[in-house]
Each structure stands twice: as C-alpha cells, then as structure tokens.
C-alpha cells in the first residue's frame, strides 16, 4: 500500500513539472527520431502517394486519347466501310472463291512473307479494287465482284491486282493524301475539351474523295507500274499475265460506261501499257 502511495506521489510530481502552455521542444529528440528512420519512411510514403496521384492523373487523361498512327487508320478505314455500306454493298451472300488460300500462296511465291490481309468483296462497281490504310504489315483490300466477273479474272490476275494495291499501300500514297487533314487528330488528346467530330468527318470526306472521285496521280501510277514491272520481270509468265490484265482493264474502261471512273482513279490503263512496253516507253 505504501509502495502504491509513493508511486502515485512521484508521478504527480513529474506531471507537475510540465506546464500546460509550454511548447514541447522536440529538438532534443531529433537525433533519436532520425535514428528511428521515421523521416525516411514519411518521405517514402509521400513519394509513393505522389507517384499514385500522377499515375491516376495520367490514366484519367489517357481515357481521352485519340488513336495513334497504328490504330487510327484501322479505325477510320473500318468506320468508312461501315458508313458506306449502302454504296459499297459489302454485306451480301457469296460463294467461297478460295481467295484466301490463292492469294496467300501467291504472296509466298513472290517472297512477300508475314503479310496479313483482309479482303472485302463488294457487290458494287462504284469501287473496283482498293487498299485502305490499316495497321503495319496488315492490308485491308476491297475488291468488286461485278468487276472481276465482268473481266472474268482468274485467281492469278486477281492476286496481281491485289499485289498492285499492296504496293500502293506500302508507298503510303493514300495516307499521304489524308495525313494533312488527320494530323490534328492522330495521337492527340482532348482532355478538358470535346472530340471534334467535324475533323473526323473531314477525314472521312478525304476517304470519299480519294476512293470514289480523285484517285491517284499520273506520277504515282507511273511509279507503281514501274515497281510492278521491275518485280514481275523476273518471271516472264507472271509479267505477261500482268500485261494482259492491264489490256483487259484498258478495253473495259473504253467500252463499258459503268467503269469509266476507273481510269480516273487509276490513270490510266492505256498509259500503263505504254510504260510497260519497252519500245514505247514514255517516261515522265
């Protein structure tokens, strides 16, 4: 009992020494705190929180990203196809022509390896054949069924036509036509604003312009024809088939009013024949 009383008195005297208004001075125990690494742990915690805050802000901003170069073209090309379904008439029933295996074999024989392709057959003569821009090493090819039926094209001729489109896609002729309009969109971010749908519409209008109206220039067509010439000359049979294909197309655009537009999109089969024939070469 006496012990408890002494302990009580002692503790009272200790408390009595500190006045309630007096500020506690921690400087004397600063070193102790430092040794406890409390400052360090506080700093690590603050850094972690800051990192999390930045990450969250970045993720939140990234939600407003507009697709970059690799995804932009695929999205725009497919959006254009969806919006032009009525003009192109691609949603229709057709037999399996075995185009996938035929074109795959053709590419492998030409040494064009690891190339993924998607062919969309359309039931319209509005577009005869075209390569739309898409992701790298992928090709999105439109091919008109009425066109190949009118010309009675073989699988080899179709493959050559599609290869020509692939060469155009590799040369980025289509992309270079649209890029000035699309550059304000590709890979940008619109956080704090709204997506400018007018800009998207302008890009799609450029698609219309290129695919349905203006097409390629003479000099672009010359370069493509010369590239095909150089590539196919190693195989005379293949070169001959390509030449005869252009003869067929030339005859078609001259005789069939339905395909008059073709010579405007790909100018022109007649000149292509001149460029392909060495004796009548007509270099630009």
């Amino acid at each position: 009992m006496i012990k408890i009383l002494i302990f009580f008195l002692l503790s009272q005297s200790v408390f009595a020494q500190t006045k309630p208004d007096e500020l506690v001075d921690f400087s004397s125990i600063k070193d102790v705190l430092k040794n406890d690494r409390l400052d360090e742990s506080v700093r690590i915690k603050q850094e972690k929180n800051e990192k999390l805050r930045i990450q969250k802000a970045r993720a939140s901003k990234a939600r407003f990203n507009i697709p970059g170069e690799n995804d932009f073209w695929q999205i725009m090309s497919e959006l254009w196809l969806v919006k032009n379904q009525q003009i192109l008439k691609w949603d229709f029933q057709k037999p399996d022509f075995g185009l996938d295996t035929a074109f795959q074999d053709f590419l492998e024989k030409q040494g064009l390896l690891e190339k993924s392709f998607k062919i969309l057959l359309i039931d319209s003569a509005n577009v005869t054949h075209f390569a739309l821009p898409t992701t790298a090493n992928h090709y999105l090819l439109i091919l008109s069924l009425p066109f190949i039926r009118t010309l009675d094209l073989s699988k080899l001729e179709i493959s050559l036509l599609l290869m020509e489109d692939m060469v155009r896609a590799d040369a980025e002729l289509f992309k270079s036509h649209i890029r000035p309009t699309a550059k304000d969109l590709i890979g940008t971010n619109y956080v704090g604003g709204t997506l400018d749908l007018k800009k998207i519409e302008s890009v799609l209008k450029k698609y219309d312009e290129m695919i349905l109206d203006k097409g390629f220039t003479f000099s672009q067509q010359f370069e493509i024809t010369k590239h095909m010439d150089r590539t196919l000359k190693n195989n005379q049979e293949l070169w001959g088939t390509y030449y005869r294909l252009i003869v067929k197309i030339d005859k078609l655009v001259k005789e069939n009013a339905l395909y008059k537009n073709l010579a405007r999109i790909y100018p022109s089969p007649e000149l292509q024949l001149n460029w392909l024939t060495p004796s009548k070469s007509n270099d630009l």
């Binding site: 939600r63 407003f64 990203n65 507009i66 697709p67 995804d71 695929q74 999205i75 497919e78 959006l79 196809l81 969806v82 919006k83 379904q85 691609w90 949603d91 029933q93 022509f97 185009l99 996938d100 295996t101 074109f103 795959q104 590419l107 492998e108 064009l112 390896l113 690891e114 190339k115 993924s116 392709f117 998607k118 062919i119 969309l120 057959l121 619109y190 709204t194 997506l195 749908l197 998207i200």
Partner: protein
C-alpha cells in the same frame, strides 16, 4: 389434378435439365471491335446478338469447322473461331474509351462493324 401437377413440375424441370446438359468448357473473349453471335454456324445466318470486343462468351463446343458454339447472355449461338481469344484482349474500345463514346456510333453501325468481320476473307503469308 395429379397429372396437372406432374406437367407443372416437368415444365420447371425440363429447362433446368437442358441447361445442365449444356456444359461450359471454357470462357473465350470476342477479339474484334464488334462481332455477331449467329443462329447457325454460317457467316450468313441470322445474328442473335452483337457483342463488343472483350465480351466473355461461355464455350459449349470448340472449333467445329471454324465455328465455336457459345452462350452469350440469354442466347446460344455460333461465333467464328478466328474472332475469339482465350485471354481478355486489349480492345480498341478499352484503349480509347472516350474516343469511341464520343464517336456516338449508332446501333446499326455497331451491327455493321460486326458484320465486316463476318465478311472479311482473311489470310497471312508465312515462312515455310
């Protein structure tokens, strides 16, 4: 009265039994921006529903001539095998969520976007 009770019980039991028969093998995910679950294993067969990329589908039968039998919500139908993947894919809609929202695509446009992947003739040249 007893007969009526049996019929009533059968009415409840038959769907349960048929559902139990449909054994789910695994879950696969749609790997195209939009895709269709078809009534039959043909790209031209009627579309039961349109699902977006990353949508989980319960697989009932694996790759039968390029088609996989799946359950999508209340529908049981067929999806082209090459439009499915086993792991949740990185979808364009997830990469650019606000962009796709703000494009304000109509339901018919999503339907046709799915149809595109039914119509594509796809291939890849390979090293031999």
């Amino acid at each position: 009265m007893e007969g009526l009770l049996i019929k009533f019980l059968l009415l409840f039991l038959i769907p349960v039994v048929s559902f139990a028969d449909a054994k789910v093998i695994m879950v696969k995910y749609m790997n195209t921006p939009w895709g269709h679950v078809h009534q039959n294993s043909s790209r031209y067969s009627a579309s039961l529903t349109t699902v977006s990329c990353g949508h989980p589908l319960k697989v009932l039968e694996l790759n039968n001539k390029g088609w996989t039998k799946v359950i999508a919500g209340p529908y049981t139908g067929f999806v082209q095998e090459n439009n499915l993947v086993s792991k949740k894919p990185e979808c364009l809609q997830d990469k650019y969520p606000r962009f796709f929202d703000d494009l304000k695509l109509e339901i018919t446009q999503m339907y046709y976007w799915g149809k595109l992947y039914d119509q594509y003739v796809e291939g890849k040249s390979r090293l031999k």
